[in-house]
């Protein structure tokens, strides 16, 4: 399966391009920054640190659609990067740790849905939040920071198969802009 994945036309075209992988990585960073950036705002509200003058439900309505949109972007670019060298990433310890942390993030969210969320009507507008909400918020921050650390570590431990860095770019910016060489 993994071997098939890295032989697909998409994986090959990303590997063969000088630009696609860096662009995918950049979009991945934009996406994860928006995921963590928006989640942190909600977590800090649940911890009573910031935005305590706004109801939690308003915050969730404002934030979570952007969190999910950004997560979709991050998962898509992450999947495409994974496909370029699936076998190596699959066996990389930090990649596995990162996937495990993502599962934990989902479970953490589930805990919130099954506990604090059910009584949200009672504490929505107040600055004080139930202890379980504070636990979930703390876990959320720790897990997402862990995801970022593990993600960055993948780049330092998994050997990427891309075009060698000494190959010439196929776009020459001088030609593009008509500048003298």
């Amino acid at each position: 399966m993994l071997e098939w994945l890295q032989r697909t036309a998409v994986a090959i075209s990303i590997r063969d391009s000088l630009y696609t992988f860096p662009v995918l990585e950049s979009i991945h960073v934009v996406g994860l920054a928006l995921v963590f950036g928006t989640i942190a705002i909600l977590d800090l509200r649940l911890l009573g640190v910031a935005s305590t003058d706004r109801p939690v439900s308003r915050l969730m309505a404002d934030l979570l659609k952007w969190t999910w949109a950004a997560f979709a972007l991050t998962a898509l670019t992450g999947g495409l990067m994974f496909s370029t060298n699936a076998l190596v990433y699959f066996h990389n310890t930090f990649f596995r740790a990162k996937m495990l942390l993502l599962v934990l993030a989902a479970l953490n969210m589930l805990v919130f849905e099954l506990t604090a969320r059910k009584t949200l009507g009672r504490w929505d507008a107040g600055a004080r939040t139930p202890p379980i909400a504070k636990v979930v918020a703390t876990m959320s921050i720790l897990i997402w920071v862990g995801v970022i650390v593990a993600g960055r570590a993948i780049g330092f431990t998994a050997t990427r198969t891309t075009v060698p860095t000494d190959s010439q770019p196929d776009v020459n910016f001088e030609d593009l802009l008509g500048l003298p060489k």
């Binding site: 000088l18 950049s26 950036g37 928006t38 010439q168």
Partner: protein, 173 residues
């Protein structure tokens, strides 16, 4: 700049980071990314408020008061971790086209953020009533958001400076 980068690489703090680069560089980069996330979250919220897509029950001033300090604080964190990366890998950073273009965009983004917060504080009444709804401010919100996205792209491209071809000074070393 090459000479300066080489001199910086020979200083004790740089040597220390180089000797511990196996964990130091990924660790510094991870903190840098957390800072980027806080900046992007804050910028997104202020921009969505200007566009009328979120925080509509708060005034522009309230929204800026909530996120302005986080934005500024995170930018300081990014400056600190960024400086550590320059000290740790001077040649990689200073002899790259992406790095300098990124610095120009960061300066632009910071100037817009600071002057926006200042103008809002000085003419609060007028801003809430008229300026907050002006199309030019909405356009500025969108443009600023993409300036920060550009900063992220260029930050990542420092690792791939060869994509700039002969524009990258690293290619001429």
């Amino acid at each position: 700049m090459n000479q300066f980068a080489l001199w910086l690489a020979s200083t004790p703090p740089s040597v220390f980071i180089q000797e511990h680069n196996a964990w130091a560089i990924p660790a510094i980069q991870s903190v840098h990314i957390v800072g980027i996330a806080l900046v992007m979250g804050s910028v997104l919220m202020i921009d969505l408020r200007i566009l009328g897509l979120a925080w509509t029950d708060s005034t522009l001033r309230q929204t800026t008061n909530r996120f302005g300090p986080w934005l500024t604080g995170s930018l300081w964190l990014l400056l600190a971790t960024g400086l550590l990366m320059v000290v740790g890998e001077p040649v990689r950073e200073l002899v790259s086209f992406s790095f300098w273009l990124k610095m120009a965009l960061v300066a632009l983004g910071a100037v817009v953020a600071i002057s926006f917060q200042r103008a809002l504080r000085r003419h609060e009444q007028q801003w809430e009533r008229t300026v907050a709804h002006s199309p030019s401010l909405k356009l500025l919100a969108v443009v600023t958001f993409f300036v920060w996205i550009g900063v992220i792209f260029l930050g990542r491209l420092i690792a791939y400076d060869h994509v700039w071809g002969s524009w990258s000074p690293a290619q001429r070393l």
